[in-house]
Structure formats: C-alpha cells, structure tokens
Amino acid sequence: MQSKRKIDWQKIAPYLFVSPFIISFLVFSLYPFINAIIMSFQQVNGFNDAKFIGFANYKQMFNDGDFYAALWNVVRYGFWTILILIPLPMLLAYLMNQKGIPFKGFFRSVYFVPVLTSSVVAGLIFKYAFSSEKTGVFNVWLSHIGVGPVDWLNSSGTAMFALVVIAVWRWLGVNMIYFLSGLQGISPELYESADMDGANGFQKFWYVTIPLLKPITIYVLTISIMAGFSLFNETYVYWGAQSPNNVGTTLVTLIYKAAFTNGNFGYSCTLGVALFVIVVVVNAIQTRAMGLFSDEG
C-alpha cells in the first residue's frame, strides 16, 4: 500500500512542477489570445458593449496605409540591424579572441554595458543627440564637414538611422559575446592546420571561422528579426504614438495607438492577431532555411 502511494506521487510530481507554466499559459496567454481573436471580429465600445462586425477590422487593416508603413519600417529596421549587428560583432569577437590581446575582461564589460540601460533611457539620450538644432550632437559633428543641420527625426532615412544607431549601440556587446562563445568552441587545431597550409589571417577568418559560426549566426539572426517585430520603446521615446509621415511607426505602435489613443479595441486586437501570424510565418520560413543550411553544411 505504502509503496503504491509513493509511485503515484512520483507520477503526480512532474505535473505539480510544470503547473505554474500551465496555469500562467492558460490565464495570461491562451485566454487573452482567444479573446483577441474574438475581439478582432468585433467593434468594441467599452468592454461590455461589443458587437460582431465580421471581417470589417481585417478589411480596415488591409486598406490602412499606416499598417503597410509599419510593416515596411519593421522590415527595413530588421534589414539594417542584421546587416550591421552580425558582421561587426563577429569581427570584434574575432579580434578579442586572438592570443596576446590584453584586458579582455575589461573590453567585454565596456561593450556590454549599453544593453543594461533601458531602451527608454537610451532613447532619451539619443533623442537629444539627434536634435534638429544646430547644437545637437550629430549636427555639431556634421557641421565640421560643412553639412547640415539635419532634421534627423523628421524624414524617413535619417529617422531609420536614428533607430538603428540605438540598436547597434545597445546590442553590439551582447552579440559579440554570443560570437565569442562560438569562437571558443572552435578547436585551435583547425587554425594550426590552416597555418600549415599557409593561410593568412583573412583567409582563416573567411574559410574557418565564418562557416563554424553558422549556428550562432542563425541564432543571432532569429533574435534580431524578432526584436524588429516587437520594436516599440525607442520609437515611442522619439515620437510618441504618432510620428511625422509614419517615419517611426511600428506594428506595436499601431497596436498601442488603436487601443489607448483611439479606443478602437477591436482593431487593436486585429493588428495583434496579424503580428502573431506574421511572426509564425517568418519563423516557419526561417526554420526551413535553417534546415537547408544544415543539409548543405
């Protein structure tokens, strides 16, 4: 009898251990998600007054210029952050990982500190640095080469630049640490045999290091893409919920604005569902691509 009770307990225990996740998932993810899907088909005027309106919200979304502007911004942001935040940290990690480099721990900490600042504080500082006045930091720098002053946050290209600069500043150190850990997993023998074949530093980097960093690169790529889709804080600090000509509008900006500026709860949920679908599709494509990469490697 007693041993039977013990065996039962051992079967129940794992469910108790995972129960916090199950409860939290049901209450704070699945329930609101189902709610979001329902509300995305409703016109909601206050939480107790909702009526079904079919696909009207979705039609509105597909006719909403702001939606396409936001998508385009997110795609461009993802493109630029990936273009910079993969090669630069990779190179930096490679430099740091060389034999004979002093103060490695110090450099690592310095590169890492920016990510500790909240995106809001980072946004505040850069907002002043990108001021349209002649006295703004970037305009002062430009004035030395006789350019400007530029109204940074008011036109599309420079606004994107101002967003990407924050991303590069905050994430350079984190991505470098990812690549550094990848480099430390590469056997030194590979470099030795490359040396024997007479490879120079660049050839070693290109033919040995880069291919072996592929898994890390894919991981960094994934988190960069996801960071783009959930971009909000920096844009909110720069422009609030409404930027000139949508230069800083993201999908999350639209979700926020529909809900808390315009009180259009149904539409906010529609945009949330759309973002969910987009993220799932992008992930599926990426998983496919990763599969292709691993076949090839």
């Binding site: 939290s24 979001a36 590169y111 500190v113 600042t117 909240s118």
Partner: protein, 281 residues
C-alpha cells in the same frame, strides 16, 4: 623574428580598433553624465555637448530628484525596485520548477508542454496588449504591483534556460534519494536547487534587468503618476507641460546605477548564462 613583429603589429591594429569602438560605445554615457551636472537652460541653449565647465556645473539636478513634485522620482524608483525584486523572486522560483520538471521527469504531455514553451518564446508579448489590459482591469488589478507582475512571472525563455541547464544534470541523484525515502519536492529543493546555482545566478541578473527596464506593460497598468515605474516616469518627465527636464539626466544616471551594480558583482555568471542559453538554443 619577422613573424613575431607581424603578430605584434596585428595585436596593435586590433587593439586600436577595439579601443576606438570602446570609446564610441562610452560616448553616450559621457554625454549623460556630463549633462546631469548641467542646468536645463544650458542644455537647451547649447545642446548636449561634451564641454566640461566646472563653473557652470552643479549638483542641482540631483537635488531636484528629491525636491521636484515632493520627490516623485523616488516613488518611481521605489515602484521599480519593488516590482523588480518581487518579479525576480517569483520568476526564479516558478521557472526553475518548470524547467526541472521538464528535464528530469518523463510524463505524458511533456513534449506538448515543451513545444508550447518553445512557441511562447517566439511570440512577442505585445500582441496580447489589449486583451491582457482588459483581463487585468476586470480582475481589478489596474494600478497595482500585482497587475504589472502577474502576467510576467513564468516567462518561457527562463523555463527554456533552466530546462537546458537541468538536462545536463544526472537523474541518479534523484533515484538514490528516492530509495532513501526523500519526497519529490525535497529532492528538488535540497539536491537539485543547489546544483542549479550557476543557472540561478545567470537568470537573476537577466530577469532583474528585464524587470527593471520594462516599459510598455507597466506604463499601461500604472495609470497615476506616483505609481509609474522609472522608465515610464522618466518618459513622462519629457512632456513639455511638466517642466521636469531637470529630472531627466540625473534621473537617467541614477536609474542605471542599481543594474550596473548587479552586473558588476555577477558579470561572469551573467555572461556565461547568456551564452549557455544562446548556444544550446
């Protein structure tokens, strides 16, 4: 001989590039700190600039942290502190349990649950902004710490991290403890939790950082200005109506200090933690 010289040249060039990047990375902090000792009028007329002029600099901005609107800055600070500590403790407790359960037991539904964890890791929480707001307000949790904290205490990424860590731990400890008659929870608490110490170290800092810097969700839940968390408060100080610009730079500097202290004290664990989560992901 020639090889030695060329390797010294390589190291020197690398160091120059590394120092250059390190200086670039530090510039925003330099601006922030210098500006925090300047008057608002000076910043507005001369912009953010690197000039250090001691006759124009003072601790005035830091004093306003206490005087401005009866020291509202410290209510924000206190709110951030309470939320961060509570959230971190709960996250560590719950996600270590779940990760342990997923790694060290075989049970029906395990694969499904783990698949759900992986999906939850991909989905940005902002898609549920409005329905969560509705739920939290219907539960009567607006303007409360619980409203900010509850939806965030079992994050999938932290479960994943603990699960990965526990996969590397032997099941034999549990088996022999069972033979000795130890209960399941005691096995977790007295045998495995001590073994998971490095994982706890890494997750403490990561969770602290996320909670301390969280902005959007606390901004939505905390409606009245004394209830703001630090990032939302600093943001609100930027509105043209408030005349609170004094707070901005000194307040930003002060907001970084706690997290910097936690980082400096635990940086090796932190960096290890980050990479374990990343590489094995």
């Amino acid at each position: 001989m020639g090889q030695k010289a060329s390797s010294r040249l390589r190291i020197t060039l690398s160091l120059i590039l590394m120092i250059f990047l390190a200086v670039l990375v530090m510039i925003p902090f330099y601006f922030m700190i210098v500006s925090s000792f300047k008057s608002v009028a000076d910043i507005f007329s001369n912009g953010l600039n690197v000039d250090i002029n001691f006759s124009k600099m003072s601790l005035h901005s830091y004093e306003t942290l206490w005087t401005n609107r009866n020291g509202i800055y410290w209510s924000w600070f206190k709110n951030s502190l309470i939320i961060t500590v509570l959230e971190t403790v709960l996250v560590l407790l719950f996600t270590s349990m779940v990760g342990y359960g997923l790694a060290l037991y075989d049970f029906k539904g395990k694969t499904t649950i783990f698949a759900v964890v992986l999906i939850m890791m991909m989905v940005p929480s902002s898609i549920l902004l409005l329905p969560l707001y509705k739920e939290v307000s219907q539960l009567g949790l607006m303007n409360t710490y619980a409203g900010v904290i509850l939806p965030a205490i079992v994050p999938a990424s932290s479960i994943f991290f603990f699960r990965q860590f526990c996969m590397g731990l032997s099941k034999e400890f549990a088996e022999s403890a069972r033979i000795d008659g130890a209960g399941e929870f005691r096995i977790f608490w007295q045998i495995y939790v001590p073994l998971m110490r490095p994982a706890f170290g890494a997750m403490t800092i990561l969770t602290t950082m996320n909670a301390w810097n969280d902005f959007l969700w606390p901004m939505i839940v905390m409606k009245s200005d004394t209830n703001f968390v630090l990032p939302a408060g600093l943001m609100s100080a930027m509105t043209p109506y408030g005349n609170n610009y004094d707070l901005l730079f000194a307040g930003s500097v002060m907001s970084i200090i706690p997290i910097l202290v936690v980082f400096v004290l635990n940086q090796n664990q932190f960096i290890e933690g980050l990479t374990v989560g990343g590489v094995k992901g």
